[in-house]
């Protein structure tokens, strides 16, 4: 406990002492975490999106003409039992005719030619929204009902739902993949920065070892420092993420339209590549001149 307290204060002191290197490290960590965060954000919103989507799934099943009332009743009560279902509305053949007429009264003369309502009886199912993973379940539920031999046809906005599900799956898989890669990249980077810190303090570590410090005594501040840097990086990344996401939507249409126009072209002129090299060199030159200037001042 005491060691933790001391290590924490040591770590903070060290971060403050080597401001420069830790500033760089923090920048890198923040950037990596920001990328991770953006990805997470996309995944999350897609989840909401697909969830919201299930809200809109309504299925209408039309029964075959020769189906008995009893069979229909049985089917309906079976459907009602499902936890997925919010509401089931049954429309008999006559009700279907009535509702048709209320919408198109001028077409009444057509219906007079039939002695029985020409519309099939139907049930309209509205699904609940609470459950997670709803869409997949709904899809299999609908396919289940469709298999029943009293159903003539169905009308459902399921294709879109399926597509979104596929996208979600795709995003999840690439997400896990990408997160994995990014995770290793950030570990690699922080690993190197902390190694740099260790090399920077090699002399000190050596002395500590020679006067009888345990390995853990020496390691602890570095570990705390690593964790602290990671935490700070996370905080910065979080703030950046919030800012980014609050900003983007205001420009979203503009950005998307431009992206669309530009992505379709794929010529990189040599000019740009040469300019990159030129700029790189110039930036390097200016920077080194500046940093030298400060060092060589009296």
């Amino acid at each position: 406990m005491d060691l933790l307290k001391k290590s924490l204060s040591n770590a903070i002191n060290n971060i403050l002492r080597n401001k420069l290197i830790n500033f760089l490290c923090l920048g890198i960590i923040s950037f990596t975490l920001l990328t991770l965060g953006i990805f997470n954000y996309i995944s999350y919103n897609l989840e909401i999106f697909t969830h919201n989507f299930s809200k809109n799934i309504e299925a209408i099943f039309y029964f075959k003409n020769d189906v008995k009332e009893k069979e229909i009743k049985a089917q309906i009560s079976k459907i009602r039992k499902s936890l997925l279902v919010d509401e089931v509305i049954y429309k008999s053949r006559d009700e279907a005719e009535t509702s048709f007429l209320s919408q198109f009264p001028e077409l009444k003369y057509i219906l007079t030619e039939f002695d029985k309502s020409p519309f099939p009886s139907s049930i309209e199912i509205k699904f609940k929204q609470e459950e997670s993973n709803l869409t997949t379940k709904i899809i299999s539920f609908i396919e289940d009902i469709e298999g029943s031999d009293i159903i003539e046809s169905k009308q459902v906005n399921i294709d879109w739902a399926k597509k979104v599900l596929y996208i979600k799956k795709f995003i999840s898989i690439t997400g896990i993949f990408l997160s994995g890669i990014l995770f290793f990249v950030s570990v690699f980077i922080i690993y190197n920065v902390i190694k740099l810190n260790i090399i920077y303090r090699k002399e000190e570590i050596n002395i500590l070892q020679l006067v009888g410090a345990t390995d853990w005594y020496i390691k602890f501040p570095f570990i705390i420092e690593g964790a602290l840097m990671g935490l700070l990086g996370g905080i910065i990344a979080g703030i950046l993420l919030i800012i980014l996401i609050k900003l983007i939507p205001s420009y979203s249409d503009f950005i998307i339209n431009i992206l669309k126009d530009i992505i379709s072209l794929k010529k990189i002129p040599l000019k740009i590549l040469i300019r990159l090299l030129f700029f790189g060199t110039i930036i390097g030159l200016i920077s080194s001149l500046f940093s030298l200037k400060k060092f060589f001042k009296k």
Binding site: N206, I207, L208, Q209, V211, G212
Partner: protein, 228 residues
């Protein structure tokens, strides 16, 4: 206390820094280690605190074969030994106080106890007035005394000093050696590498002499030969 049994040390091929050394250093005694520049004094000391491993042979300290100490337990060995390094090995951007406190801090002692011990060591080497100086801001001789104070501070049972008076004038050298003598009187084993023959003559202690890595005189030579 310390035993060397047919110890060899090679840094590079075909050249021995330490060659077939048999040596027994007894508890509570005071030894000088002498020899020309490059004779192997520092190497011999480094073998004792296991900064270097022998190419061949066994080294026993406090009845422990240090070859067999795993690196996790190495700190136990190091806590027994107070070392004054030839190149001081101070943290030059810390204060004198902080440097001397390191061995104590590392052992997890209380602040008040550390304060007391550091003050003790500082007054032994006559540096009370430099306590809060940054170590890079004091003179070479003062730095050497800080290194000595740090070695004493940790309450070791062996003190090893590598040319501890190289940067000190004769009077101060004698004073410092008197301090080592005092420490030795408290039962602590002292081993001092030095090339200052005047000091060796003046203090007439047991003397171990090296020449090109070989032991050419040792107070316990007869005994050694008896062992083998």
């Amino acid at each position: 206390m310390i035993g060397f049994y047919h110890v060899y040390k090679q840094y590079v091929k075909e050249s021995y820094a330490i060659y077939d050394i048999n040596l027994s250093i007894e508890k509570g005694e005071f030894y000088f280690l002498t020899g020309a520049s490059g004779a192997g004094k520092t190497t011999l000391l480094k073998l004792i605190y296991k900064e270097e491993l022998p190419t061949k042979g066994q080294i026993l300290i406090d009845s422990v074969n240090i070859n067999l100490i795993p690196r996790k337990k190495l700190y136990k060995l190091r806590r027994k030994i107070g070392i004054v390094f030839q190149d001081f090995k101070l943290l030059y951007n810390r204060t004198v106080y902080e440097n001397i406190a390191i061995p104590l801090v590392v052992r997890g002692y209380r602040k008040s106890y550390i304060d007391k011990m550091v003050k003790n060591s500082l007054s032994l080497v006559g540096l009370n007035h430099r306590k809060n100086y940054i170590t890079s801001h004091i003179s070479g001789g003062e730095q050497q005394r800080v290194a000595i104070a740090r070695a004493i501070a940790g309450n070791p049972i062996i003190i090893i000093a590598d040319e501890p008076t190289g940067n000190l004038d004769t009077e101060l050298s004698i004073e410092i050696l008197k301090i080592f003598e005092k420490i030795n009187n408290n039962g602590i084993t002292v081993l001092i590498a030095t090339h200052d023959n005047n000091l060796i003559r003046m203090f007439s202690k047991k003397t171990i002499e090296l020449k090109q890595g070989k032991l050419i005189s040792s107070p316990t030579k007869e005994k050694q030969q008896w062992i083998y």
